[in-house]
Assembly symmetry: C3
Homo-oligomer: 162 residues x 3
């Protein structure tokens, strides 16, 4: 059986459909850079923010303006931008062979230490779309600030078909 | 001459023995990710913390709760976790052909600027184990916070035999 | 036509000449690491600072001691160190086939959110030297502190001829 978009059951594009996720348009740069660069079978993506277009959907810090659940929601929006940017580059997310690395940067204030739970919001979406056999390594940092005051930024490295 | 573990003199496993270092069990993930992903001959590792298992051995910040020497000790524990995770993936540290990159993330408070001296604790261990011909590039950042309040996190990229 | 240094018009070395840029000597490590490591056709560089030799040219934070224009100047000095280190490794910047990734780390205080404008100072120099067809992906973080109190640090990954 082939899905309406031609994706096989179990493929990333098929899972995305089953999850009922429609991706917003891929983000566009805030400056003199691009959203994706491929070298060999490695696809590097720019830092992804909880924005749609250039409009921040969240501005503030974890442990101050936002709690864990709001942080998870912001991370999810950024993770959807990861998928959007990757699909734009590749044509189809089915060309992703491994999610190599996920770095999660969180703007934190004071004694906020629930980084893993917030970061899991991205890890879980990537797992649900690419499958549990494609889990990445993970780096999580609490930072002082992010572009335009946003609370989260994601950096993702993918291995892709060439 | 072959060492008790079958490693040649001058090899990483042999040096580890000579240094009298016994590695603790490799860390296990705090969430939906894995500790190592290999793509081609590049081995990516997750951010390594000064924890044994899921138990933090240090919680606090450099320049506040911890001084340079304590920071160096925390970095060393995280670096031992790097070795543990790499050995678990590879079977033997002798398969490491280059230490490509070392990123050292330190939670700092106020005017703490002795980053290089603290970071050197990881660099020196890696040099002692892998040899001075395999020194990595290095990135050092002072961050606002790290998972579970730990003061240091290490990110290491290795080139390995395939 | 061949330039005085044997570089073809449109090449990176030729553009550098046209821009009237003379690079200062490549930076040397602050500890037990090296400034460049190549694996396959990927050239990793250490974090580059606004220093000449080991002497910081800027110490302080954006949003406190420094404004956007001063931040851009500090970033430019760090970006020139990127070029210096890459040339030292490669012999010629003409061997750079892609600028894969640029990470810009800025020490920020309070509500400083003009990260993209400051980061663009590095992006624009790299674009002017390597050409608009070699723009990298970009990660920008506001951090708590950087080595020796410097306000910016750059991490660059290059794809190079082998």
């Amino acid at each position: 059986m082939v899905s309406p978009q031609g994706s096989l059951p179990g493929s990333a594009e098929h899972r995305l459909q089953e999850l009922g996720i429609e991706l917003t348009p891929a983000p566009t740069p805030f400056g003199a850079y691009v959203e994706s660069v491929q070298t060999g079978n490695l696809l590097y993506l720019s830092g992804m923010l909880p924005a749609v277009g250039h409009e921040p959907k969240f501005a503030g810090r974890l442990g101050k303006e936002f709690d864990v659940e709001q942080g998870r929601e912001a991370v999810r929006i950024a993770a959807l931008n990861v998928l959007s940017a990757a699909r734009k580059h590749l044509g189809s997310l089915d060309k992703v062979t491994k999610v190599v690395k996920l770095a999660v940067y969180l703007t934190t204030e004071g004694d906020f230490f629930a980084h893993p739970k917030v970061a899991d919001s991205a890890s879980e979406l990537l797992r649900d779309v690419f499958g549990p056999d494609k889990l990445p390594v993970r780096i999580v940092l609490g930072v002082a600030s992010l572009p335009l005051g946003m609370p989260v930024e994601l950096e993702v490295l993918l291995e892709v078909e060439v």
